[in-house]
């Protein structure tokens, strides 16, 4: 069979064709692998850059919190003391000064709460459960919806992850406040090594894909980006009430 020159020609031509394809494909695979590696490096650099920006943002927020506490807080406390002194010196003015005095006390409290929510050091000092609880309390005072909060022990997360969870929690609560029109919000957090934060509401819901693809989803994109930075898995399950949706469920958990 192989002595026939035509058969030999056909076989050699077929093998040469196969060899040519093999060379082309191997070259392509190697070149593609280089491209993919480069792309991974670029993505890592981008992630590091984002992380740097977030750290800077946190530092600025901490600085603002310190300024609120040390400067504005002190001035307000001084004002409060002055008002008390004025009331003591001139008891007749006590009635007229009462609304001002109340407003100063309220402002001091608000500045204190705001400072605490801006300063991420509080999380490290008091723990995530305590910090989230304070946020829940702050929400409850607004009387916009009923907050049902349950939690386990302190989750095993590194400091950066705790800060990210806290910021995402704040952003999600703000979104709830602004858009959800919910009556009840159910928040639960699994602790220890099984960290899982679930925030569920009975509000009007929304079309996740539509919001994400339109220019309106900046807050949501921010949440997803933060979660990615903290190596956390984030999922949002929602549908508009017109499409039979029953509120929104937001889940944040640790990537195992």
């Amino acid at each position: 069979m192989f002595s026939n020159p035509i058969v030999l020609t056909v076989l050699v031509a077929t093998l040469m064709m196969l060899l040519l394809i093999a060379v082309v494909i191997i070259t392509m695979v190697l070149s593609n692998r280089r491209n993919v590696q480069q792309e991974v490096k670029m993505a890592q650099m981008h992630l590091d850059h984002e992380k740097g920006l977030r750290l800077l943002q946190d530092e600025v927020m901490a600085e603002v919190a310190r300024e609120l506490h040390d400067n504005i807080g002190q001035r307000l406390t001084f004002m409060k003391l002055q008002l008390q002194q004025q009331k003591a010196v001139n008891p007749a003015s006590a009635v007229s000064l009462l609304p001002v005095s109340d407003m100063v006390v309220e402002t001091i409290e608000e500045v204190r709460v705001l400072g605490r929510s801006l300063n991420s050091d509080v999380i490290e000092k008091n723990g995530l459960v305590y910090t989230l609880e304070k946020e829940v309390e702050r929400m409850r005072t607004l009387n916009k919806f009923e907050v049902h909060w349950e939690h386990d022990k302190e989750p095993e997360l590194i400091k950066d992850q705790k800060v990210i969870v806290f910021r995402i929690f704040q952003e999600t609560l703000n979104n709830l406040l602004k858009y959800a029109e919910a009556k009840n919000v159910y928040i639960s957090m699994g602790g220890g090594s099984n960290f899982k934060l679930v925030m569920k509401d009975d509000g009007k819901g929304f079309d996740v894909e539509q919001v994400m693809s339109s220019g309106k989803g900046a807050g949501l994109k921010n949440i997803l980006k933060r979660a990615e930075l903290g190596k956390l898995k984030c999922s949002i399950d929602s549908a508009p009430s017109a499409q039979g949706g029953k509120g929104t469920t937001f889940t944040l958990e640790k990537i195992v």
């Binding site: 058969v7 593609n32 692998r33």
Partner: protein, 215 residues
């Protein structure tokens, strides 16, 4: 006979994979699935006509070759990320005209090997364009792309079959004993081709599932 059985078994692989992931397959991959199923049926029917009825089965493969060019060609065209696709449709039409002329010059009962070679060249060229267009310039892992495996299967099969089909009628006419042996080239290429098509179907199915899970 053992090679033939192996070819049959290998040809059924992509059909099973394709049917299993049918819901996840896009237009192009569905066309490829239909082509694979038709190839399987033609192989069995061709065998039945040739070996058991002892009649010519070339007419069946003459028809199948045109179906293959159109189905595989259309699948490639739909997958191409190009604005102007009409030249490729034009090439398919030209190939069909060439096939008609080739049959008219001979007979439907004589295997139109020149038209077959033309079809193989057309498909090789189209899938090379598809490979470069869809895979090479994208920064995704090449080995995870279904289009890569589909293109690879077609390029290997079509390009490597050109020398054999070019000489097919010569062997039939001058050395029928050799023709029976040389057909193994096509069988070996079938054995390479169809598992690669099955891989592409499985990858489409798995990637669609990953996307659904993420959503």
């Amino acid at each position: 006979m053992a090679t033939l059985m192996l070819v049959m078994m290998v040809k059924i692989l992509p059909v099973i994979a394709g049917v299993y992931y049918f819901g996840h397959l896009g237009k192009s991959f569905r066309l490829t699935l239909y082509l694979t199923a038709i190839a399987f049926v033609c192989e069995i029917y061709g065998l039945y006509i040739g070996r058991y009825l002892h009649r010519h089965n070339s007419w069946l493969f003459n028809i199948y070759m045109m179906l293959e060019v159109w189905l595989a060609g259309a699948a490639a065209i739909y997958l191409m990320d190009l604005k102007k696709k009409w030249p490729f449709w034009g090439i398919l039409v030209l190939d069909t005209i060439f096939w008609i002329i080739n049959l008219a010059m001979g007979s439907i009962f004589i295997f139109a090997n020149v038209a077959m070679v033309a079809g193989l060249i057309v498909l090789t060229m189209m899938y090379l364009v598809l490979l470069f267009n869809n895979c090479v310039f994208k920064d995704r892992d090449l080995l995870r792309q279904p289009v890569f495996w589909l293109s690879l299967s077609t390029i290997i099969y079509c390009a490597c079959d050109i020398p054999y089909f070019g000489m097919h009628n010569y062997f039939i006419g001058h050395a029928p004993a050799l023709a029976a042996k040389m057909i193994r080239i096509n069988s070996i290429l079938d054995i390479i081709r169809y598992p690669l098509v099955a891989i592409s179907f499985i990858l489409v199915g798995q990637q669609k599932q990953v996307i659904l899970n993420a959503a």
